[in-house]
Amino acid sequence: MRTGDLIAVCIQNLLRHKARTFLTVLGVVVGCCSVVIMISIGIGMRRAQEKTLAQMGDLTVIQVHAAGKGARSAVLNKKAISRMKELEGTEAVTPRLVQENVPITVYGGRDKRYRASYATIVGIDLRVAEIMGYSLTEGKWQPGRKNCIYAGQNLAYMFEDTKRPEGNNMVDMYSGDLDENGSPVMPPPFFDIMKTPVTLELDSGKEDGKKVVQTMETVGKLKEDYAKGDETYMGMIMDIDTYQSLLEQQARLAGKKQEQQKGYQGALVKVKDIGSVAGVEKEIKKMGFRTSSMESIRKPMEQEARQKQLMLGGLGAISLFVAALGITNTMIMSISERTREIGVMKSLGCYVRDVRKIFLLEAACIGLIGGVVGVIVSYGISLLMNLAALQSSSAFSDVMMETESVPSALSVIPWWLALFAVLFSVAVGVGAGYYPAGKAVGIPALEAIKHD
């Protein structure tokens, strides 16, 4: 038989008992809906989780810490850095240079009027700053440019005015009034850091008062990111080579051996994707360094989410299974009613395989219609759920004005879930129709001439 004829026959049969077909399809719709909604809630949960994690820090950046100072511990030097670059799955590596033992004072404004004593200064490879997750609110990355810094978002508030009396010489960034929305307005700092060059002074620590002095231009303002560190907030970053040469000059003045021989204090390793984090981290640990990344938090969270998703999906699957029983039941009923017809068809030369196809197709049809309608209904339910969730959380989010992100959806149906649901429903239909179709095939042509 032609495929078109098979489909026509099967639709004809389904339309014969409209109420029965409708109820069976309804069963599949309910089953399909429950699977889709349950899984979509699982996905929604996971998305929300990932968002939270992403806010906590870049998921694909591993922080490497130098091991202890012992003689036998691995040294985080240029060689180690280039070895990390060669690891499978690594996208970029930068050493992270911090100097805590050298007093560095930052001056800004005319005649060194403004002074900041505690700014965290970090040196990194600026070429990969953006990849590492540092982002700018103002200015542009200019890796090739000499003697420039990228100021932390609130670095300007770190400066004290040397011409004002103690206690009144700093701008308190939290002292501003609230705007009409109720969120605080930050008062302007003493000077615009983007327009004012700053001067770094590295004290030798000796009595002679010799200093290394270097004027730097601010070419970018960093977006604050607690996961990255103080430098994005109350500090600054600069090119690692510049920083190192400043430190070397200071060491010479101080007559000390440059500490950099011992290697960097830390490094950042950017990994291509989340899946490679664990592997790269393991390799770095093997090299003898301590590491930290979001992976250790993400893993158990993800595992838990997967478990929940599985459980929810399982609950949904139960109703789809019940729907499958419904299909089987309907098919068996319809076959026992049509015993004679099947006999007639066979005696008129209908192939056994066509009989099987007709019944499998009928079952698949029920699955398909149920699946498609189920997915459409699921989208509707999902929308309603998300709207309801939004409504109930809107009061809450008023308080949390600062989080600019939209609250994540309760239920998410990606296209692949919709497609999977439809295909799965069809498969359930075919599966449920398999036994009845076998029964139909077994009906002999003889049924046609039985006199009853």
Partner: protein, 236 residues
């Protein structure tokens, strides 16, 4: 006549049913040759084995022993798929209870055997309409079986049996559910088709009144052939 190859050749067919511990012999070594163009009436009372014989002839059941050869092919050894293909090509059926599918119109019912062959819808329905006109149902083409009288349904049944131009048409009590006037009409129609296309008809009946339509009467009793007579005047 003996030189001609028989259309249907029944060789030593025996059919035994098992009813609990008892064995019932429905057919006891039947030998029968039926030739092309013959209208053969298999006559017998109920329980004589005539229905069983029909089942064997049409390949609906496998004989316990012996074989049925149609057009030189042993249908007793065929698989279900082979039988289906064979039925499509060579066999037509007319049933006592018409057996039109209630969900299909007259045209669709008549075109059904052609659909099983894989013929395209437009063409097969064209052919079906021609047949339906020939049986006088041109005004009932798109009626469903439920909307037609018994006689009309059986006429559609006849059209369906002949729509593939089969070599053999089995008619199982074709007028069993009809009144005598309609019976006459229906039988004449079947004979008309048979004569026109020189087709072999196997007519199974218990009604002595039907015998007059046939060229040859094979009488069955208790699973044995007890009579096999040809009408005089029939040219062999």
């Amino acid at each position: 006549m003996e030189q001609k190859r028989p259309m249907i050749h029944v060789q030593d067919v025996r059919k035994v049913y098992r009813m609990g511990d008892e064995e019932v012999v429905a057919l006891n070594r039947i030998n029968l040759k039926i030739y092309k163009g013959e209208v053969c009436c298999i006559f017998g009372t109920s329980g004589s084995g005539k229905s069983t014989l029909l089942n064997q002839l049409a390949g609906m059941e496998k004989p316990t022993s012996g074989r049925v050869v149609i057009r030189g092919v042993n249908i007793s050894a065929m698989s279900e798929e082979e039988l289906a293909a064979f039925r499509q090509k060579y066999i037509g059926f007319i049933f006592q209870s018409y057996n039109l599918l209630p969900s299909m119109t007259a045209v669709e019912n008549v075109a059904m055997p052609l659909m099983f062959c894989g013929m395209e819808k437009r063409r097969r329905e064209e052919i079906a309409k021609v047949l339906l006109k020939r049986v006088g149902l041109s005004h009932r083409l798109y009626h469903y079986p439920g909307q037609m009288s018994g006689g009309q349904q059986q006429r559609a049944g006849i059209a369906r049996a002949f729509v593939t131009r089969p070599q053999v048409v089995f008619a199982d009590e074709p007028t069993g559910n009809l009144d005598s006037r309609t019976t006459e009409e229906i039988m004449k129609m079947i004979m008309g088709f048979a004569r026109k296309y020189n087709e072999t008809i196997i007519l199974v009946t218990h009604d002595p009144g039907m015998v007059r339509f046939a060229d040859r009467i094979v009488t069955l009793k208790d699973g044995n052939i007890v009579g096999d007579e040809r009408k005089e005047g029939y040219c062999e």
